[in-house]
Amino acid sequence: MDEDDVSHELSRSLGTHGQFGREAARSDPNAVVVPSDEYIGHRLLRKLGWRYGEGIGPKVKRSQATAKQEADPKPTKERVVGCALPAELQKQREQPGSAEGGPNEDSSGSDNDADLPQAPVDVRCVDVLQLQDSTCGLGFDPLNAEADVALAKDAKARMSAARLAKNKSNRLGFGDFDQDDGSGLYGDGLEYDVGLLVRGSTDVQHHRRRKLKEPSQEQTDGSLLGYHSANQLRQYVKPWFPPPVVPPDFILFHNHDTDPLPAVLPSLIGFLTPKLRALLLGGILPHPEAPATASSCAAPATESATAPAPAPVPEPQEFQLFGPLHGALKKRFVTGTVQELVHGHAFTHFKGGLYVPKADGEFAGATPLTSLYTGEPDTEAEKAAAENQFGALTRQLRFFFPEPLLCKRFGVPDPHPYEPTKGEAPDVEFNASQPPPPAAERPKPGGIGLTLDDSGSDSEKKGDDDAADQDLPGLMEDRPPMDLFDAIFGEEDEAAAPEENTQSAAQPISALHQMEAEQSAALQDTEVGATTAHASPAADTAPPQAEGLSSRPVTLEEKIDRLKRLLAESSTSSEGEGGAVVVSSGSEGAPRHHKGKRQGDKKASKKAKKKAKKKEKKERRKRKKRRKSRGDAEGAPLVISDSESGSSDSSD
């Protein structure tokens, strides 16, 4: 609370921010730094020779100053820093009889020491910083208001001013009730309405009470030239002219003169300096160190020399804008294009190994900038064109992969349906017979890097075609065969729902292949015999090829053979290869009739699988009989689901 009180007290007395801070800081025990007391302005002035208490300005004769000071408490005659009163008021303030002394006037006076020029008297500070509760104007001191009262020529105003002056206390509203006319709480308000002082009229105008006077009676050549009293303005009438008479056959049309320039094609205007445009568009500069060639380019490129186009072609200025880019600085800055410039040559794609710059300086881009920009034909095509040998030499073919929607709109089938990414391949030579090379081998084209990227429609990098081809079998090989699922779930419910076929088979682990090879002979089921015999030649061929993942698409037959082998080994041996390998007796290596196709006929395979299931069940029953007969407590790598073999499982 103390702090609040203190701050409240402080706020009551207005002070500068510095004062406030100082007070607060002094009272604050934690304050490390207390703002200094001194004003910076004072400090500076003191260094310039001022002393506290003096005024600022040229030196005056002290005798004059003091004399006037005594006579008039207000030292207004000297020239002071700040604004001076208008001449009239200045005169009024001066005491009659005193000399109109400027500060610099020499008065023939005594040789009194007091006549030596001394610093002027300091300005009287208006006590702005004291909180004023009154409604008087700033600086109005009712106690010393005689002079201001004298200003008011109007008797009434004088009275009210005197009344205010009488009122010693500055509080608002005090003494307001003892008004004689009693027309308002705070008086008429009229004492505050002081109009412009107008010479020639003895009265201060009160715009509320003033009667409207004829304009002729009022003269406006008062002290404020050019200003009229508001009463007069009502009489001012603007001159009004009737609209012009339009002839009946007039058609409004503005004839623009000459200069076909305006905006026919600003691009072509800009073309006049193709080097500039290449720069502007961020294209490749053919000669990075040759600013001089710009002019040589411009000359052959345009047949008409510049001149009839005056203003709208600001090439010289534009060119100078880009001046610093040439020469030494050019190499330090990279343009915003995709293509990098290494040693001034285009560096389009990365090959491992030692970088060998191209010897001829040609770009690996699709179409190098034509002779437009270089001034000379560079490529064969350009040379041929320059000689007017149009035809095979000037013609180049490139691949173009239109979007499917575009083809649909044009009503044509997609010419490159196997191309995953559509767009352009500006660097690849079009060959009608061969398919386009995969994207990885295509060089990156150089284009203007100004376009917005449309998603997917114009990507320069394409997917890998080969990978796409290999995707499908890879996928299929990862997924275990349906027989596996049959084995797991088949026994539980005989009427198993027909599964969706997959033509995939599990890719056996290499270890299993060895096992298969070893135990393929062990598989001797009567039922299976025939099929195994059939399958074994296939099985023989399969293992040498199937080393881990196959390098070529795996046929179904081979997969089935593998499964068979796995089954055989699982049934005969007690080696737990893990359920993952468990497979039903693929003996129903019902030789699938579709050969060689990765995606065989689904229906056929479904039927085959159903057959396979039945056979498989028979197979299992026989196996169980065998087990029982042998008394083997063999583990069922045959996972679970075998309710009958559950005991055997547990025994494992």
């Binding site: 173009f400 239109p402 449309d454």
Partner: protein
């Protein structure tokens, strides 16, 4: 004239079309109306036969650089310097659709594929193909293998021919999936495929028009005589491909015979660089606009 179809040579009505110059003029499919686009950001529909203005289309905030009309005369597209293309319904006052995507001013537009595709070439070096049947905001494709501003596009059948300031004519064949690039080495401002798909006219900034064989790119003919160094002037074939008509910077229209490349007629009357010309689809008539803002009709002598 000594040719079966008379060459348009008689000046017809002159209309003050645009203030400040006009940039594009097109006949519609049957030639009953023509449209102009000008520097005053307006597109206007005219009846050229009696010279009456039918409709004004306000919507652009920048000058119009090119126009094209669909073959069913229901829509037209106007390309502006404000990097957008407006698709208008001919009967409506405000644009139907706005295609935004270009980063610089759009130079040329063309309809294709039975009015389902709109191609637009721009100063930013791309050609964008917009789908008109769906309401997609993005273009179907953006072709950006251009090295410079794309100034001309013309679609005929399944081929999109484009002209670029870098001096190459690129023809995108959608059916085959290839791009045919012809090197001309001069900035190209106009490309037009003839109606029999045999040849292609290429107008370049060296005051020359070249006629190239469409199949093997050989030069068939060269037309010189007009002045064309700086600005885009218009060029077109006549309706039966017997004349090559081009504007010129010397305010005249030059008509060349396609076969023997001789100047058949030089039509004078404009007071500024002729910026666009178009030939009537069936009759022997011509419209042209110039930087003086007038639209002039030229017809053939009726007696011959």
């Amino acid at each position: 004239m000594d040719s079966p179809a008379p060459c348009p040579s008689v000046a017809g009505p002159v209309m003050n079309a645009h203030e400040g110059g006009a940039n594009a003029v097109r006949f519609n499919t049957d030639g009953a109306y023509c449209m102009t686009g000008g520097l005053d950001k307006l597109c206007k529909l005219w009846n050229p036969h009696n010279g009456r203005l039918i409709k004004v289309y306000r919507g652009h905030s920048y000058p119009v650089s090119d126009l094209c009309i669909t073959t069913d005369n229901n829509f037209f597209a106007s390309a502006g310097l404000e990097k957008a293309i407006f698709l208008w319904d001919v009967t409506q006052d405000s644009p139907n659709r706005k295609f935004r995507g270009h980063t610089e001013q759009v130079n040329c537009v063309a309809f294709g594929a039975d009015n389902s595709i709109l191609a637009s070439g721009s100063y930013d070096g791309t050609l964008k193909l917009w789908d008109l049947k769906s309401r997609a905001v993005a273009p179907i494709m953006t072709l950006s293998s251009f090295k410079d501003s794309v100034t001309a596009v013309h679609i005929r059948g399944t081929s999109i021919a484009t002209g670029c300031v870098d001096g190459y004519v690129r023809t995108f064949d959608v059916r085959v999936g290839k791009v045919v690039m012809e090197c001309i080495t001069r900035p190209i401002i106009h490309v037009h495929i003839s109606s029999d798909h045999n040849c292609m006219m290429v107008q370049t900034l060296d005051s020359t028009i070249r006629l190239l064989d469409w199949n093997n790119g050989e030069l068939l003919n060269t037309y010189k005589g007009h002045t064309n160094d700086k600005y885009r002037v218009g060029a077109c074939f006549s309706c039966h491909d017997e004349w090559v008509i081009t504007g010129s910077e010397d305010a005249a229209i030059y008509i060349y015979d396609v076969v023997n490349a001789k100047l058949t007629a030089k039509l004078e009357g404009h007071r500024g660089c002729v910026t666009a010309v178009d030939h009537h689809p069936t009759d022997s008539a011509l419209v042209s606009v110039a930087t003086d803002g007038t639209l002039r009709i030229w017809t053939a002598r009726s007696s011959e």
